[in-house]
């Protein structure tokens, strides 16, 4: 491992995080809140650790795959740690484990909270909580790649380790340029949503909070009842549609800006994603209507919002879906695991992987019937090579194994099966609210610290798609000579 390069990159990440504190600090000053001291202290700590690290002279500039993994894993862990400090210093969340949980939940865009009541908390703290969503959505390292030409061609390994999806491609030949385009789209869509929400009647502050929550597909709100508190059709539709957009692959957004409609319409993952959202919305609306919880109109509205929120792994809620019929709840649970498109800001397994897995299953079935048959898996008319397919199978397997392990650990202090199962799924897939105790109107404060640590790890494992964090646990990863 190229330790010097990894440490230097870590320093840059920390200095960037110090920069990210500035808006919250501004909010604290603007509303004349006492929390500015907490932010200033954290800022000072970040700079005093980060700046010396950025001064490290890196002799070997080449980065290899494992350096990329190490940078991403350490970067995210340390970011979450420092991000937790304002909560602790300000006294809003005194316990370190709780603060770490909240910060991790923010950066990984999970949106699971240990705060029973958020209304009445200092605005700067609420702003910081939601801003971590926005940073974590596209990724800090991606941002550093966009601004600084850090490490020549090796930065692709960083990009790959940080951004979700089985095969990370580039939009344009240069990585720096690709990162700039992605961030440009991200900022543009976020601004559009802020303005739309303002027009629909939110205050600027609320619009910012909810736009950040949507953009990163996080789900922190500054209302106890989440988006449901506004009771406005316009707001529900705006957030619902934007959640859907942020759950799309950003490559598609880029092609849309270039008016390359054929590319967008031909995209097989998008078709799968649209079909999944539309189908689930219809099923759940029908279920709600049949069980006479809502009349047809509101049933469609709430079903669409919830499906969009859960599929994109955002976790906003307009209604307490824990009280919904079992069929609807199970549908939502399935959507939690599948997740949105690769290359979006969402979590979960990603539609493309599920789509590939379904095609692998079909191939295996054909092989049973005709053992000598040669059958390739095609996505969008292109062959997917066996290595990618193997990677997808391994990923799904890992995902399930980790899920089962975490459920074991969390089950020790859960009072029902739904809580144990859904809390793990909601954290691993970066959604936030699950069912029962951790449902949309509940929270995670009742868990034992051990469960909180396990769930925090689930979040970062889910956000970084398992491998970077898992590699840290391998002894051979740390050895200088890795065999």
């Amino acid at each position: 491992m190229n330790r010097k390069a990894v440490l230097r990159a870590l320093g840059i990440v920390l200095v960037c995080e110090a920069g990210f504190m500035l808006p919250s600090l501004f909010v604290a000053f603007h509303y004349r809140e006492g929390e500015s001291a907490a932010f200033l202290t954290t800022l000072f700590l970040l700079l005093s650790v980060g700046l010396p690290l950025t001064r490290i002279r890196v002799r070997i500039r080449e980065l290899y795959a494992r350096d990329g993994f190490a940078i991403v894993a350490f970067g995210w862990l340390s970011m979450a740690f420092f991000g937790a400090l304002p909560f602790v210093f300000s006294g809003t969340i005194p316990g370190l484990v709780d603060a770490l949980f909240e910060s991790m939940s923010g950066f990984t865009t999970t949106g699971a909270s240990i705060l029973p009541v958020v209304e009445g908390l200092p605005r700067s703290i609420l702003f910081w909580r939601s801003f971590t969503h926005w940073i974590g959505g596209m990724g800090v390292l991606m941002l550093t790649l966009a601004i600084l030409p850090l490490f020549g061609a090796g930065s692709l390994h960083i990009l790959r380790a940080e951004s979700p999806g089985p095969s990370t491609g580039k939009l344009v030949p240069k990585i720096g340029q690709t990162a700039k385009i992605l961030y440009g789209l991200y900022v543009g869509l976020t601004l559009a949503e802020i303005i739309a929400l303002k027009i629909a009647g939110m205050s600027w502050f609320d619009a910012l909070i909810h736009a950040f929550g949507t953009a990163g597909t996080g789900g922190f709100s500054n209302r106890n009842a989440s988006v449901g508190a506004y009771g406005s059709l316009a707001i529900n539709l705006i957030i619902g549609v934007f959640m859907f957009l942020f759950g799309m692959n950003f490559t598609l957004h880029y092609q849309i800006t270039r008016r390359n409609w054929r590319f967008v319409l031909k995209d097989e993952e998008l078709r799968f994603y649209v079909a999944m959202v539309a189908g689930a919305t219809l099923f759940i609306a029908a279920d709600l209507w049949v069980n006479s919880l809502f009349s047809p109109g509101p049933a469609l509205e709430h079903a669409f919002f919830q499906v969009s929120s859960i599929t994109t792994t955002t976790g906003f809620a307009t209604a307490d879906f824990h009280g919904w019929p079992v069929f609807s709840k199970v549908t939502l649970l399935v959507l939690m695991i599948v997740g949105p498109c690769a290359g979006s800001t969402g979590g979960g397994m990603k539609s493309i992987r599920v789509l590939m897995a379904l095609k692998i299953i079909r191939r295996e079935l054909v092989k049973m019937k005709h053992p000598q048959s040669v059958h390739t898996v095609r996505i969008g008319g292109r062959n997917v090579d066996d290595e990618t397919l193997g990677g997808v199978t391994a990923f799904i397997l890992f995902y399930l194994v980790l899920m089962v392990l975490a459920i074991f650990l969390v089950a020790m202090d859960s009072h029902d099966l739904e809580t144990a199962f859904s809390s793990v799924v909601a954290c691993l897939s970066n959604i936030g609210p699950g069912l029962s105790v951790v449902g949309p109107m509940g929270n995670y404060s009742g868990f034992h610290p051990l469960s909180k640590v396990v769930l925090s790890l689930c979040m970062v494992i889910g956000r970084l798609e398992i491998f970077p964090i898992l590699l840290l646990a391998m002894p051979s990863f740390w050895r200088r000579v890795s065999i």
Partner: protein, 456 residues
């Protein structure tokens, strides 16, 4: 600049590596996923899997906005089709690798008909370079600038030259003919020397001067007693064919050893008057029986780099004075350095230099055209020839006032037929050709050489 490269082979990869390093947007198209994987992992380029002849693949790669399309697949015909299609689809400029001797003779017609802007023939270029080295045996390597009026020679200091141990300041006063030592290669690194730099054993000097003067310099170093009359070549590939044709025209006697019987017959037919021997060139007995020791020069260019290096060592042991080895994989360059072999020729690198020169020439719109580009020591330093076509701020100002930045050196000015080795009082004039040593990568314009604001 947006550059499309079709064919991710040896040449394609080297090109992508060098072009992407110089801040071009490079997209590679190839059918073979294994080849693409390496490029994807190591280079900051975009890779597209597919056939470069396919219109839809070319469109996906953005051929419409491409400033340059380079076809470097293994097949000449494919390259022609790719460039033809690319040009029709809107690629601004096209370069094709065409290397079959059958086509090489009708190049001008092909260029015109296919709308090609440049044809590269790595084998031909390598043969040219080898011929130049054989023609000038005292030097490790020779490069010509300004249409042959100025030469750049590389000379290795073996320790018994009169200038070893002297400071550069003193050397220039001792020499009668005006030459300039523009770069010193030492322990795998390059120094752009100043007057205080001293010459040590095992340095490789890069000397610029008028052709006659560099010859004088070599004589003064005691290196010019050799004239080559007999050449032995091992490996009868395309380079051998081009090289032998040039050498026989110069009146040299050539012996080729080639292992493949059919190829031997072909060569014998194509090259009358040349001795073709069928046999394994790596067999020491065969080389001895073909009196290797009595040869003036030996060229190792089999398909395997390792064989070429070992053959060169064998030839040196046998007492051959001038040895050239073809080395394709330039990551062996570090190793080659330690073997202290004289001359290494890499077709890949020559091609890459050629295209880089062309690309920088396009990018540079400041009225100085890059006429030649030569890179030394694995690209750590480069020597460029600029042609000043327009009035620029640094013209007509004495060089000492312009104050060249560190790491740059104005090595020669060619004005009409006159070659000036510049001193502080010399000036640059319109239509001059200027040869510059630069220790950076990717020098595009003379603006970067001088301190802006230095001019009055």
């Amino acid at each position: 600049m947006k550059i499309l490269i079709v064919g991710d082979g040896k040449v394609g990869y080297t090109l992508a590596e060098n072009l992407s390093r110089e801040d071009n947007d490079v997209t590679i198209i190839d059918k073979n996923p294994e080849a693409l994987r390496k490029a994807k992992e190591n280079l900051d380029v975009m890779c597209i899997r597919g056939s470069g002849v396919s219109v839809s693949v070319l469109l996906e790669a953005g051929v419409r906005e491409a400033d340059l399309l380079i076809a470097a697949t293994s097949s000449d015909e494919m390259n022609m089709v790719v460039t033809l299609t690319g040009k029709k689809l809107g690629a601004r400029r096209t370069i094709a690798r065409i290397r079959d001797p059958e086509y090489a003779n009708e190049l001008s017609l092909l260029k015109l008909e296919l709308g090609l802007d440049l044809v590269i023939n790595p084998e031909q270029s390598a043969a040219n370079e080898m011929a130049r080295i054989l023609h000038y045996p005292a030097a490790v390597n020779v490069e010509s600038f300004a249409k042959g009026r100025v030469e750049l020679v590389e000379i290795r200091m073996t320790g018994d030259e009169p200038i070893v141990g002297m400071k550069l300041r003193k050397i220039s006063s001792r020499l009668l003919s005006p030459i300039l030592i523009g770069a010193v290669e030492r322990d795998g690194d390059v120094v752009i020397p100043d007057g205080e730099c001293d010459i040590r054993e095992n340095d490789i000097l890069h000397v610029v001067g008028r052709t006659a003067n560099t010859v004088d310099f070599c004589k003064a170093m005691g290196k010019c007693e050799l004239r080559i009359r007999n050449v032995m070549i091992v490996g009868g590939g395309r380079i051998a064919y081009y090289l032998v044709r040039m050498l026989t025209n110069l009146g040299l006697r050539v012996k080729i050893i080639e292992i493949d019987r059919n190829r031997c017959l072909e060569l014998a037919e194509l090259l009358p008057g040349v001795l073709v021997i069928q046999g394994d060139g790596t067999d020491a007995d065969l080389l001895q029986s073909e009196n290797l020791g009595d040869m003036d020069a030996f060229v190792a260019m089999t398909g395997r780099d390792e064989d070429n290096l070992i053959l060169s060592l064998m030839a040196r042991k046998a007492g051959v004075r001038k040895i050239i080895a073809k080395v394709t994989r330039m990551n062996l360059a570090g190793l080659v350095e330690s073997l202290e072999l004289d001359s290494i020729v890499s077709p890949r690198l020559i091609t890459a230099n050629h295209i880089l020169q062309y690309v920088r020439g396009i990018r540079n719109a400041t009225g100085e055209r890059i006429e030649a580009l030569h890179r030394i020591v694995d690209g750590k330093a480069e020597i460029l020839e600029f042609l000043l076509q327009e009035r620029r701020w640094y013209l007509d100002t004495p060089l000492k006032k312009l104050g060249a930045r560190k790491g740059f050196l104005v090595a020669a000015i060619i004005r009409n037929t006159e070659v000036i080795i510049p001193h502080g009082d010399d000036v640059l004039k319109l239509h001059d050709r200027v040869i510059v040593f630069a220790k950076t990568r990717a020098l595009n314009s003379l603006d970067e050489v001088f301190r802006p604001g230095a001019a009055p």
